[in-house]
Symmetry: C2
Subunit: 154 residues, 2 copies
DNA sequence: CTGAATGGGTTCGCATTTGAAATCCAGACT
DNA sequence: AGTCTGGATTTCAAATGCGAACCCATTCAG
């Protein structure tokens, strides 16, 4: 197992680090739960609310921030015979978080699932064997975790 | 671009979902920032504090929770001529979050980096070309995002 | 033309969490 | 004995969170 050498500070200041910026955008419980629901296709205010069981104030605030940050797009839908309503759909920026949330799901399956079969898993279309989050080189071949090396700019 | 079909509810109840459980464990700004630092090798209370600039109360609480949840291991170190101190090192459970945080870093590079060269990137040992987070099938070959299919248990 | 129903919020009051600073504590060094 | 230092807890104001109630516009039913 990779042992990480002791460091007094991280090599990149948090405020210059895109990971820290990403954490500012998605590093919040409700925000992550909203994105989880959105990736499953939930789009409407009341559906989010039923799904998350969170205060409407919080939901309203988080949706607004997600739209401002560009992860969700607010647009209008209209079912026939009903008035038009806003719905919140994932933008490309939001959609591209999918691998990360699937990775986190699988991490949860491995460490928090108490040995039970995961309720949901992922396969390649047309295949039955499971896929997993990993790293690949430029040619799409897997790179094992102990082969990963950080490189600082400069 | 994959368009996700409308759903009123997600296919897995949040409290049965390992993603939701994972979010309960790591879905917090300070927790994520602590893990970020830990993955770069930070281990000691004051080093975390200098790195994060967060209240010591909050840091103390988060470290305790991370130990309880099993992501960090509290152990003792002793520099010669100094008294022994606790340090917080990543457990295997914590280490296995690395791909996810690297993935999130690259997501931030892509969407929040304002076109600048990322301050840190990752390569395969002995190679110069960058690696990226992706999905692989059982044989370690990449699976494109639009090929991913969720499968419910049952 | 009312009146209720529905979806999508906002307002309000209170409880919890957070932040910043001060304090505490144990062991090593002088 | 006194001081320094890393690792925390205490204190209290300020921010954020929660839940419930309320508001608003539209549509449908009578």
């Amino acid at each position: 197992m990779t042992q990480i050498p002791l460091a007094r500070r991280s090599p990149v200041q948090p405020d210059a680090c895109n990971l820290a910026k990403a954490i500012d955008v998605v590093g919040d419980r409700w925000t992550l739960l909203i994105l989880r629901a959105a990736l499953y296709g939930v789009r409407r205010f009341d559906d989010f609310q039923a799904e998350l069981a969170c205060p409407r104030t919080v939901l309203s605030g988080r949706l607004k921030k997600l739209v401002e940050d560009g992860l969700l797009t607010k647009r209008t839908y209209k079912s026939p015979g009903k008035r038009s309503r806003p719905e919140y759909v994932l933008s490309p920026m939001g959609l591209s978080l999918r691998p990360i949330l699937i990775g986190l799901t699988q991490w949860g399956d491995a460490w928090l699932g108490q040995g039970e079969t995961p309720p949901i898993s992922f396969t390649k279309a047309g295949s039955k064997s499971a896929i997993r989050a990993a790293f690949v080189d430029i040619e799409g071949r897997e790179v094992r975790p102990d082969q990963i090396r950080p490189v600082l700019r400069g």
